[in-house]
C-alpha cells in the first residue's frame, strides 16, 4: 500500500470517527440537537470585505453603535421635517459621545453619516478635525443636524436662500429647524428665485459648529457645503425625486409599516438601516427588483440572530453578494425559492448505521449529508 493510499485511508477513518462522535453526542435524546453549541465559528458578516472575519458579537456591537448613531440623526431629521421645535435628547447624545472615542465606531460614523459617494446629493467630508469626546451635547447635535441637512440638500451653496435664514438665535434648549427639506422642483430651487423652507437658525451655543446662518459665512469648515446642481432633472413626487430613505420606505411600506421600519429596535428596522446605509450593493429603491427579497432576508437574519451571535455560520449574509448566493438561500429565476438552514450535518450517516427509535424519527434522521452520499447510493 502506497503512502498516498495510507493517507487516504487514514483520512476516511478520521472522518468516520468524527461522524460517530457527533452522533453519540447528539443522539442520546430526541432534543439533544437543540443543546447550545459550544463551538463557534468565525463568520462572515462584513460591513466590508476587510471585516469578513469579524466575530458575530463584535460585528453586532459595532453595528448597533452605528445604528444608534444613525437613529439619533434620523430623529433630528424627523423633527426638522415636521417643523417641530427640536428638543435636546441629552441622554442619547451622551451615549453616542461615550462611544465616539472608539476608532471602529468612528469608522462607522464615517460610513453611515458622511456618505460613501453614492448619495444623490453628494458625500460630505467627515469631521476629521472634530474632537468627538470633548464636544458638548449641543455641538454634537449641531453636527448631526448639519450633516443631515447637507445630505438632503437643504443647504445649497448658492447664496439665494430665503429670508428666514437670518432668524434670531433660539433659546438654549430648542432650535428652530427647516419645516421640510426643499423640494427639487423648479419652483423651489434657490437659484430660480423660488421660496425655500426656512433655513436653520444660528446655533444656540456660541462654541458649537454653526449652521450657515449667512450664505457667505459658513462657520463649520470641517463640514463643507454641498454644491447644488440646479440642472438635475426631477419629477415632483416620483421615486427618483425622493431621498434614498424615502424611496426605500415607499418600496417597502407595503411589507412593513413605516413606523416599524424606522425603529432600529426591531429586526425590520435593523434590516432597513442595513439596506439604506450599510449594504455595499446599495440597491436602487426605484428600479431594483431584488430590493424586497433582500430586505426580507435581512429581516429574517436579524429576527433569528438573537444578540447578534447565535448564527454559527452566515457565509455571504449581509454582504454585497447577491442574496441568492447567501448560505442556505436558493433562488429560481432570481427569486428566492428556498431558505435551508438546518443543523445536524451527519444525521443521515448515523441513521444509516444505527438503530433510531421510531419515536424519535425526525427529518434530521434522514438528512442526506453530502459526505455520506456514497453510502446512500449503494442502497
Amino acid at each position: 500500500m502506497s503512502s498516498q493510499t495510507k493517507r487516504l485511508v487514514t483520512l476516511l477513518l478520521v472522518l468516520f470517527l468524527i461522524n460517530c462522535t457527533s452522533y453519540f453526542g447528539a443522539a442520546s435524546a430526541a432534543g439533544a440537537i437543540r443543546r447550545k453549541r459550544k463551538k463557534k465559528y468565525v463568520i462572515a458578516l462584513p460591513l466590508s470585505s476587510e471585516s469578513s472575519h469579524t466575530k458575530p458579537h463584535a460585528y453586532h456591537t459595532n453595528y448597533l453603535q452605528a445604528v444608534n448613531t444613525k437613529y439619533l440623526a434620523r430623529k433630528l431629521k424627523k423633527k426638522s421635517n415636521t417643523g417641530n421645535m427640536m428638543s435636546r435628547s441629552s441622554s442619547s447624545i451622551k451615549l453616542e459621545r461615550s462611544r465616539a472615542g472608539d476608532h471602529q465606531t468612528y469608522e462607522l460614523y464615517r460610513k453611515i453619516d458622511y456618505g460613501n459617494g453614492s448619495n444623490a446629493v453628494g458625500a460630505v467630508e467627515p469631521p476629521t478635525a472634530m474632537d468627538w469626546d470633548n464636544m458638548s451635547n449641543e455641538e454634537l447635535e449641531e453636527v448631526f443636524f448639519e450633516i443631515q441637512m447637507q445630505r438632503q440638500g437643504s443647504y445649497p451653496s448658492s447664496p439665494t436662500t430665503g429670508g428666514s435664514d437670518t432668524e434670531e438665535p433660539s433659546s438654549s434648549t430648542t432650535t428652530p429647524r427647516p419645516t421640510r427639506r426643499p423640494s427639487l422642483s423648479p419652483e423651489a430651487r434657490p437659484d430660480s428665485g423660488g421660496s425655500v423652507p426656512s433655513a436653520p437658525s444660528t446655533p444656540s451655543s456660541p462654541s458649537a459648529p454653526t449652521a450657515p446662518s449667512t450664505p457667505s459665512a459658513p462657520s463649520t469648515p470641517s463640514v463643507p457645503t454641498v454644491p447644488f446642481n440646479p440642472t438635475t432633472p426631477t419629477t415632483p413626487g416620483s421615486c427618483e425625486d425622493m431621498s434614498r430613505q424615502d424611496g426605500l420606505i415607499m418600496a417597502l411600506e407595503g411589507i412593513t409599516e413605516e413606523t416599524t421600519l424606522m425603529n432600529p429596535d426591531t429586526p425590520q428596522g435593523l434590516a432597513f438601516l442595513w439596506l439604506e446605509e450599510i449594504d455595499p450593493l446599495q440597491v436602487d429603491p426605484c428600479t431594483s427588483d431584488q430590493l424586497e427579497q433582500r430586505y426580507i432576508l435581512a429581516t429574517f437574519y436579524y429576527a433569528t440572530n438573537a444578540n447578534g451571535s447565535s448564527w454559527t455560520s452566515a457565509t455571504g449574509w449581509l454582504t454585497e453578494a447577491d442574496e441568492c448566493s447567501w448560505m442556505g438561500v436558493t433562488c429560481q429565476g432570481g427569486q428566492v425559492s428556498g431558505i435551508e438552514l438546518r443543523t445536524c450535518l451527519f444525521c443521515s450517516f448515523l441513521y444509516f448505521f444505527t438503530f433510531v427509535p421510531l419515536q424519535t424519527k425526525t427529518s434530521l434522521n434522514s438528512l442526506q449529508a453530502p459526505l455520506c452520499l456514497f453510502l446512500h447510493d449503494t442502497s
Partner: protein
Amino acid sequence: MTAENNLDGSLPLELSFLSSLSVLDLPGNSLKGDLVPMPATLTFVDLEMNRMRGAPFDALAGLRNLEIVHLSTNGFTGIIPSDIGEWSALKELWFADNRFQGATIPSEIGKLENLKTLFLYNAQIGGSIPSEIGNMDLEEFLANNNQLSKEIPPEFYNNKGLTLLRLDSNSLSGTISSLIGNLVDLTDVFLSNNTLSGTLPVTLLRLTSLGKFVSTTILPI
C-alpha cells in the same frame, strides 16, 4: 453544502412576502414564537426540533401546494382543522411531540390520498381514529402516546402499503382485526398499553416482513 446553524428568534411576518418561496427548511435550531403565515407557493416546511408555539395549522391554512410538513418536537398547540383536507398534495405530515391538547384527528384527513407518513405521537391528541383514514395510502403511521380511544376502525386496514404502525400507549379498545393480515408489508407493529382485548388473529402469520410486534393481547393458543 447543508448549512449548520443555530437560529435563535422568531420568524418574521415578512417571510410571507417572498412570493416564490417553496422551501423553508429550518429544523434543529432555536426558533421561538408562532409560525407566521406563509406564501401560497410553499411546498416544503420543516421546523422540527425548535421551540415554536402557537397554532401552526392556522398559519398554513390554504396552502394547497404543501407536500412536506414537518413540525414535530416544538411547543405547538391548537387543533387540527378540517381544512387540512385541502392539502391534497401532502405526502408527509409530521406534527408529533407537541401539545395539541384536546385536538382530534379530523375525518377530512381521509382526503389526503397522497399522504404516506403521518406522525402524531406524543401530541396529546384525543378522540378516535376516523374511519376515513382508510381512504388513504399510508406507509407509516405513528400515533403512540396519545389519548386515542375507541376501536381501530376496520377501514384502517385498507392502507395496504403500511410498514410502520405505532398505536401503543393510547386508550384504544376492541380487538385486533384479522384484517391486519392484509398489511403484508408491515415490519414494525406496536399496540401495547391499550385496552385491547381478545386474541391475536392467526392472519398475522401472513406478515412475512414483520420484525417487531409488541402487544399485550394474548396469543390464540
